[in-house]
Amino acid sequence: MVRSKSIGEKIFHGFNITLMVLLILVSLYPLYYAVINSMNTGYAIQRGFSLFLPADFTMESWRTVLSDPSMLGALGLTALRTAIVTVASTVVTTMFAYAYSRPYLRGKRFYSGLGVVSMYFSGGVIPFFLLISTLGLYNNFWVYIIPSLFGGYYNVIIYNTNFKALPDALFESAKVDGAKEFTIYWKIVMPLSKPVLAALCVFTAVGVWNDYSTTLYYTQSPQLKTLQYCILELVQSYNAADQLTSSAMSASASISELFSQNNNAVVNAKTIELAAMVLSAIPMIIMYPFAQKYFVQGVMLGSVKG
């Protein structure tokens, strides 16, 4: 083992640690860059982005974002949608997975067939669009909720593996005592499955919170904009700087007013965009380490044994 402390070893470890520190910086810096520049004044940014600390500190952009009615509306809508879908789809999916996991279920093949077909075959965006408009969900708040009520067969597989790992005796004694299936599911299985529930709830919530394509494909009214979609508009309109005051902005009264003034104000399109980005990232950053320890457990169990 003397060899393991050789110069070659030291160089390797030195290189490895340096690389890891570099990756940490690469992962953290983009967000840090957004934070400092969202606290910059518009005219400071006109001269160039700050790299380490805000050149000209102000919280004006944050104040604007947090007092803009359309931005707050989008934030509220996104939060409401995320909460409803996370809770409802978790109940529908775990209920399905519980019944599916029972060894005495008859007709299981039908359900697994249905699940596999739904997982591998997809009509694509346009047939789905036709369905959404036929159901009257186009440009309707419920388009955010109803199609997402089932978490997908992949999640069923993960829950199924976890539920099957629970001791059989638990179910048998409950059945002998005459417990109803729903009672067993709700009172026994759910409380014992907190790790996988936590992990998949976080996945669902992250997916819903971060989604913008539903808004892009299936809505058009400004009241139905989600936070991510508002940010997308800011990002895209900044790219086409000459279109700043165009239709994309007109829905948001106070922000479009800012654009119509000159771009050298305390607050400009860029600082607003950065503040909105950081705002929308905050819940994700709070949430992900909380459930991190369950990820490997939840994800691995499903993908290894699934």
């Binding site: 390797f12 490895n16 640690i17 890891m20 990756l23 940490i24 992962s27 953290l28 810096y29 983009p30 860059y33 160039g48 982005f49 790299l51 529908v92 209920m95 399905f96 519980y98 019944a99 060894p103 005495y104 279920l105 359900y111 249905l114 077909v117 739904s118 591998y120 997809s122 009509g123 694509g124 965006v125 346009i126 047939p127 789905f128 669009f129 036709l130 369905l131 036929t134 089932f150 067969y153 048998e172 059945k175 299936e181 729903f182 394509s213 892009l216 494909y217 991510q228 940010i231 990002v235 790219n239 950065l274 980005m277 990232a281 992900y288 991190q292 990820f295 490997v296 994800v299 993908s303």
Partner: protein, 314 residues
């Protein structure tokens, strides 16, 4: 009763009341799958028809078949070859780079001695995976901005370039931007799978290798990599199956009129030409072709992998 006797204690739950309860619990999820996954498959019919959006739901059935006219329209369109090239180019290079980089990252992470540092690196590198593409992509656009963005500031300060590089306004950089940002976002997340596989390797194999005088590189090459080969193969199968599937949410954030020649992929074509310009038949035909090829690729890759390495999905 005969059934109960035959199956012993497993006989519980075979009564109709329990079955009714179970099927009742399966009902909401099944209805969701039938309505939102199976029913849209009927809509694929319009790929072969002259369908106009004004025709509504019945139009799916009543519109006339047009003898593969939609497919012909796609093939003769001047967007066809660029779109195929962009889809395959971004995916092929992107997947090779990402599998190689993620695997290397996992292997190097595994060589870290300090466990606290290791878990810190992991936690921090996961983070970008949880940001939306709007936010992460938007951040990248800012960092790459020619007006004093971070990357251009550094590049000009070091005199690597004289003029700021127009990363997003110049089509020739688009593939690179898409591949590198995709890699950075999911590097940490992708490594989870490999690390879990590595932790499943029997530690006595490493001890034996060390006693035999194997160097670090030899241990990695002859113990770790063969030990996680099944996981690597599964990632390769998924990569091949996903060859035609671009990440719409990513590409769409970076796409603009100037980089369109390099950024139009099948998925954005379906949206831009199909949905946005109301060419529903053409859009559906494009996504149908894509799905059929994707399924063939999945089975093909699975078959080849099963023959070559004994690891396959099903």
């Amino acid at each position: 009763m005969a059934r109960k006797k035959r199956t012993g204690s497993k006989g519980i739950g075979r009564d109709w009341r329990t079955q009714l309860e179970l099927h009742g619990m399966l009902l909401p999820g099944s209805l969701m799958m039938i309505v939102f996954s199976i029913l849209p498959l009927v809509g694929l019919l319009i790929a072969f028809k002259d369908y106009k959006p004004a025709m509504g739901f019945q139009g799916i059935f009543t519109s006339k078949f047009n003898h593969f006219e939609n497919f012909r329209q796609i093939f003769i369109s001047d967007q066809f070859w660029p779109m195929v090239r962009n889809t395959l180019g971004i995916n092929l290079i992107g997947q090779v780079v990402s599998i190689f980089a993620t695997l290397s990252f996992a292997l190097l992470l595994n060589e870290l001695v300090n466990q606290k540092f290791k878990s810190m690196v992991q936690t921090i590198t996961y983070m970008p995976h949880f940001l939306s593409w709007v936010v992460f992509g938007g951040l990248c656009i800012n960092l790459l901005s020619p007006d004093g963005g971070f990357v251009n500031t550094i590049l000009t300060a070091l005199h690597i370039v004289e003029e700021p590089v127009l990363f997003l306004a110049d089509a020739k950089y688009f593939w690179g931007v898409a591949i590198v940002t995709g890699l950075l976002k999911d590097l940490g997340w992708g490594a989870i799978l490999y690390l879990a596989a590595i932790s499943g390797i029997d530690p006595t194999l490493y001890e034996a290798a060390t006693i035999d005088g194997a160097s670090r590189w030899q241990r990695i090459r002859n113990v770790t990599v063969p030990g996680i080969m099944p996981t690597i193969m599964i990632m390769v199968i998924f990569a091949v199956a996903g060859m035609l599937n671009n990440n719409f949410t990513q590409i769409y954030v970076f796409q603009n009129v100037l980089n369109m020649p390099a950024s139009q992929v099948i998925d954005t074509y379906v949206y831009n030409v199909g949905l946005k310009q109301f060419n529903f038949g053409i859009g559906t035909a494009a996504s149908l072709m894509k799905s059929v090829l994707a399924i063939l690729l999945l089975f093909g890759a699975n078959f080849v992998s099963g023959k070559l390495t004994d690891s396959s999905l099903f």
